[in-house]
């Protein structure tokens, strides 16, 4: 087997790469950010201020004349820049790599059983994290220091984790683990529940079971004499704190009926429930006064929406005007909310869509609160982040102008006191000479042998997005730019559980892309050709 032999070699080659490419970060530095405007969010702005960062925390902050700059501090001249707290994105699926699951099957002739799927409540998403440098970079670029990573698969999807994007080591990033239980109104294929009405029944049954399990266990613990020992159940064991001790549950709501479904469950079982997604929240605003809301910046109406079923014209209006006004309408109804990137495919859309929400009537200050202090409060971490003040985590961004202005860029970002410079976007980008969208296939030729790959590309003006698929899995393309015929992009490849960054640079033609992948210790050639689309 030629390929097998090659794979072994390739593994060795890559293992070598991993050894030489891992880098370390240093969080012990002292920084003095001077001469910038400071917008702490929870207190009033300082026109010319200083922020002192030491050991990952903000140790002092105030007007320039009042703050003494420590001798050991590295001074960051920030005149003309504005300092904001790092933004918090409270619903992402970053860094998640889910193992492929075999579709559940019922054997022929088997009697039906109470088979149930989608129950991962004991799963803490931390175990699935595979941080990627390019992803972190793309979030730094938009000023996000902190993300809530929620599991996305299944009904009881698992428990989310709050991360500071301070490097590439998952352990070091964790701010808070097991933040909330994520519940999706999804359904299973082939097994119970196949419909959302089944999902609702499953949720109710599980909540009841958790209560029953808990009461049986407590009774047994108080006097085990004469009481049958309850059977240990890891699923219910994990569920109990969320049902009986009011640990937060976040319901992903993809349409207004999901919101109402979640509210019914919250009410029936007296849950500490939060809603996420909720891009139709304004339509059910009357019901929402009390429930913490993580509102998605995704502006596409759900398929059940009347705005989809009434022709193209209305659909377009919905995407451009009606759904972007969600946040503004909620604000007008006196509802507090956080804004999230849930449902967006590109990190850069996060800022763009905040701008759209502002254009649709959301006050700028409110937009800022919705990505700083509000999510911090909802997640119970407002004592350590979400605003700038002494003693808080040094999550600080320096921007070239007022945040959410179209021309404003994030210049530097501090996460847990670790400083990151933001790569400048390529300056002289030519108009793209062609459209690369579509499927491509070909080979990567490395010193160790050949690897068959397929690429799926999408193009939006100069921007290139997509994936590369090979025996090693699916790798995502980021920072892709097509300038004339010059194509560059980066990928964070995960190989044997480790991530390796590779940069591609090459030429693109109508049916051929050729170029070089370079990584810290070598390079490989790639040549792919376009897969013709069928005429049907």
């Amino acid at each position: 087997m030629k390929t097998k032999k090659f794979l072994v070699l390739f593994y060795f080659f890559l293992a070598f790469l991993i050894l030489v490419s891992s880098s370390s970060t240093y969080a012990g530095s002292v920084y003095a950010i001077v001469n910038c405007k400071v917008v702490p969010v929870a207190s009033s702005a300082i026109d010319k201020g200083v922020i002192i960062i030491r050991d990952g925390l903000i140790v002092s902050l105030g007007p320039s004349e009042k703050i003494v700059i420590p001798e050991d501090a590295e001074v960051i001249e920030a005149e003309g820049l504005i300092a904001y707290p790092g933004l918090i994105d409270a619903h992402t699926n970053l860094f998640l790599e889910l193992p492929k699951e075999e579709p559940a099957q019922r054997q022929r002739g088997m009697a039906p059983q109470e088979k149930e799927t989608g129950r991962y409540s004991d799963l803490t998403v931390f175990k699935l994290l595979k941080p990627k440098k390019t992803t972190i970079g793309s979030y730094h670029k938009i000023g996000v220091t902190t993300v809530l990573v929620a599991p996305k698969k299944g009904i009881f999807a698992g428990q989310s984790v709050l991360l500071n994007l301070n490097g590439e080591k998952a352990e070091a990033m964790v701010v808070k683990n097991s933040v909330a239980l994520q519940i999706n109104f999804t359904r299973a294929r082939g097994v119970y529940p196949a419909t959302v009405m089944g999902t609702m029944a499953l949720l109710r049954q599980s909540f009841l079971d958790a209560k029953h399990y808990h009461s049986h266990k407590s009774l047994y613990a108080s006097s085990s004499k004469g009481i049958k020992r309850p059977e240990y159940d890891p699923f219910l064991e994990a569920l109990v704190p969320f049902i009986l001790e009011r640990k937060p549950i976040i319901f992903t709501c993809n349409n207004q009926e999901d919101i109402k479904r979640a509210l019914r469950l919250i009410d029936e079982f007296k849950l500490n429930g939060f809603l996420s997604g909720a891009n139709e929240a304004w339509r059910v605003a009357d019901y929402l006064k009390k429930t913490p809301l993580f509102v998605s910046l995704h502006f596409k109406p759900p398929i059940t929406s009347i705005y989809v079923n009434k022709g193209e014209e209305l659909k377009e209006k919905a995407e451009k005007e009606i759904y972007p006004a969600n946040a503004s309408n909620l604000y007008k109804s006196g509802i507090r909310f956080a804004l999230t990137s849930y449902g967006l495919t590109k990190a850069s859309d996060y800022l763009k869509n905040i701008q759209k929400a502002i254009k649709a009537g959301l006050p700028k200050e409110e937009a800022l609160k919705a990505v700083t202090i509000h999510p911090a409060q909802f997640l119970g971490v407002n004592n350590i982040m979400g605003s700038l003040s002494e003693g808080k985590i040094a999550n600080v961004i320096l921007t070239s102008g007022e945040i959410f202005e179209e021309k404003t860029r994030v210049k530097r970002i501090f996460v847990d006191g670790v400083m990151f410079k933001i790569k400048k976007p390529p300056e002289k980008v030519k108009a793209p000479a062609l459209n690369l969208a579509g499927k491509w296939e070909g080979t990567v030729i490395s010193p160790m042998g050949e690897l068959d790959v397929t690429m799926e590309l999408e193009q939006e003006e100069n921007e290139i997005l997509g994936t590369i698929t090979s025996n090693f899995g699916i790798w995502e393309i980021s920072d892709g730019i097509l300038s004339g015929n010059d194509l560059t992009f980066t990928i964070s490849a995960t190989i044997m559980g480790e991530s390796i960054d590779m940069e591609f640079s090459g030429k693109a033609e109508e049916d051929l892309i050729e170029g070089t992948f370079s990584f810290s210790s070598g390079s490989a050639e790639i040549r792919v050709t376009r897969v013709p689309t069928s005429g049907f």
Binding site: P112, M200, R204, L208, S223, K310
Partner: protein, 438 residues
């Protein structure tokens, strides 16, 4: 063609109907009033106050500020009720299992289903929207008023019976016959057996709870009494056995219909109605004796093996034998012409106009347990009304206006006007576009 036109032209303005509290005031003047239960008033008025019919009679004056609808030359009828349909929901069958009484269509309502508007255009004010017939024991159904533009919550009719869908025959037995994972049951005997098995389980479950509750009440109750596990699947069936829920059973053949009646006697639960019941005429006497109704198509038959012996005369014949019959749509298309189907029972079965009209008004109301609020025009009932241009049992009739609780939800003239304007606007836009291109 119609199906296509409706969603497109539903009218953008209709979309933004302001959400008003239902229950409005309205005076309908000078129509021929078919009360369904209390005869006909050749030229009369109906006054609705806060959604409830306050007065029916002649020469009623409109109180100050009450809107008036002129129904001169038209027929004012109780809103049509569809006893069996599947509109306004986003799921049909919980087909993963054969026994799923714990699921409820309440959890998948879709207030934005355009079929609601289609229903209104056929004078329908209330529907019983149901779980599908794929499972021997399906799910729980719900009764809705067609308050287009309001939320699902505001459409629910809380006065109605709680009902549970059962299904016999071809559908449950074949429902995943051709899939990779066929399931038990695959025969009529299997369907009967699995229902019986589950009811036995439910009986045990209910008795287990009864014992627990009794033990808890007794003075000598053990301190360490653990309640049984609440099982929603069994709980739903136990509610059926407790009489808190009624069975609605999809059933075609006479033999299995009788078998199901036997099951209901064995376990002591109540059947509200048999669905489709194409062989009902063979067992009309038994149905009448047991007080079980049927909800049927008037003249659809032979569309599948178990419907071969259906006849158009069945609805009329059964009515004359004392069975409570209703005509259902089962679909979002037939729902706009239920009155036509009801009228066919005059030709096939020899019912009178009054009897025929009952098949889509008071009879389904009784089947759903809402006869105190709907199904006929009587003082004290809800102001749910359809206005027809001709007698609703005429072949030439059409619905001109549909009113629920005093509020006009469908106005044919208004709708046509809006549609025309919409078309005009569109044409102008196209023209402009073409002009720009040139």
């Amino acid at each position: 063609m119609k199906k296509k036109i409706i969603p497109i032209f539903l009218g953008f303005s209709l979309l933004f109907i302001p959400v008003l509290a239902s229950g409005q005031n309205l005076l309908i003047k000078n129509g021929t009033i078919l009360t369904v239960t209390k005869g006909t008033i050749p030229r009369g008025d109906i006054l609705i106050i806060n959604g409830i019919i306050k007065k029916i009679g002649e020469n009623i004056e409109a109180p100050e500020g009450v809107k008036t609808v002129d129904a001169s030359g038209k027929y004012v009828v109780a809103g049509i009720i569809d006893s069996h349909t599947h509109i306004a929901i986003t799921a049909g069958n919980e087909s993963s299992e054969a026994i799923t009484p714990e699921v409820s269509v309440r959890d998948v309502l879709n207030a934005e289903d355009t079929a609601i508007y289609t229903a209104l255009s056929g004078g329908v004010t209330m529907v019983h929207t149901m779980h599908g017939s794929g499972n021997p024991i399906g799910g729980q159904n719900i009764v809705l008023k067609m308050k287009w533009g309001l939320s699902a919550e505001e459409m629910i009719v809380h006065e109605a019976y709680r009902t549970l869908k059962f299904a016999l025959g071809e559908n449950p037995k074949q429902s995943n016959f051709f899939t990779a994972t066929p399931r038990y049951p695959q025969s009529r005997m299997g369907v009967n057996a699995i229902i019986r098995r589950e009811l036995l389980k439910a009986k045990n479950y209910k008795e287990q709870w009864d014992r627990y509750l009794k033990a808890k009440k007794s003075k000598k109750s053990a301190k360490n009494l653990i309640p049984p596990r609440k099982n929603l699947r069994m709980e739903a069936l136990a509610d059926l056995l407790r009489g808190k829920m009624l069975a609605r059973c999809h059933s075609y053949r006479a033999d299995e219909t009788l078998e199901f009646i036997n099951l209901s006697k064995e376990f002591g639960f109540k059947i509200a109605c048999f669905e489709h019941a194409s062989e009902a005429f063979k067992i009309a006497k038994e149905l009448a004796e047991e007080g079980i109704g049927t909800s049927v198509f008037l003249d659809s038959w032979a569309y599948k093996i178990e419907a071969y012996e259906g006849i158009a005369y069945s609805a009329g014949f059964c009515t004359k034998k004392g069975v409570l019959v209703s005509i259902n749509s089962d679909s979002s298309e037939r729902i706009r012409r239920l009155f036509n189907d009801a009228a066919k029972s005059m030709k096939y079965g020899g019912l009178t106009e009054e009897e025929a009209l009952k098949l889509v008004t008071i009879n389904p109301a009784i089947q759903l347990g809402v006869e105190k609020i709907a199904g006929s025009l009587e003082v004290g009932k809800h102001g749910d009304i359809a206005i027809f241009n001709e007698h609703p049992m005429s072949a030439y009739t059409r619905c001109d206006m549909t009113i629920i609780e005093g509020k006009i939800y469908f106005d044919r003239a208004q709708y046509l006007k809006e549609r025309e304007e919409e078309e005009k606007k569109k044409a102008e836009k196209e023209k402009k576009k073409k002009g720009e291109k040139k």
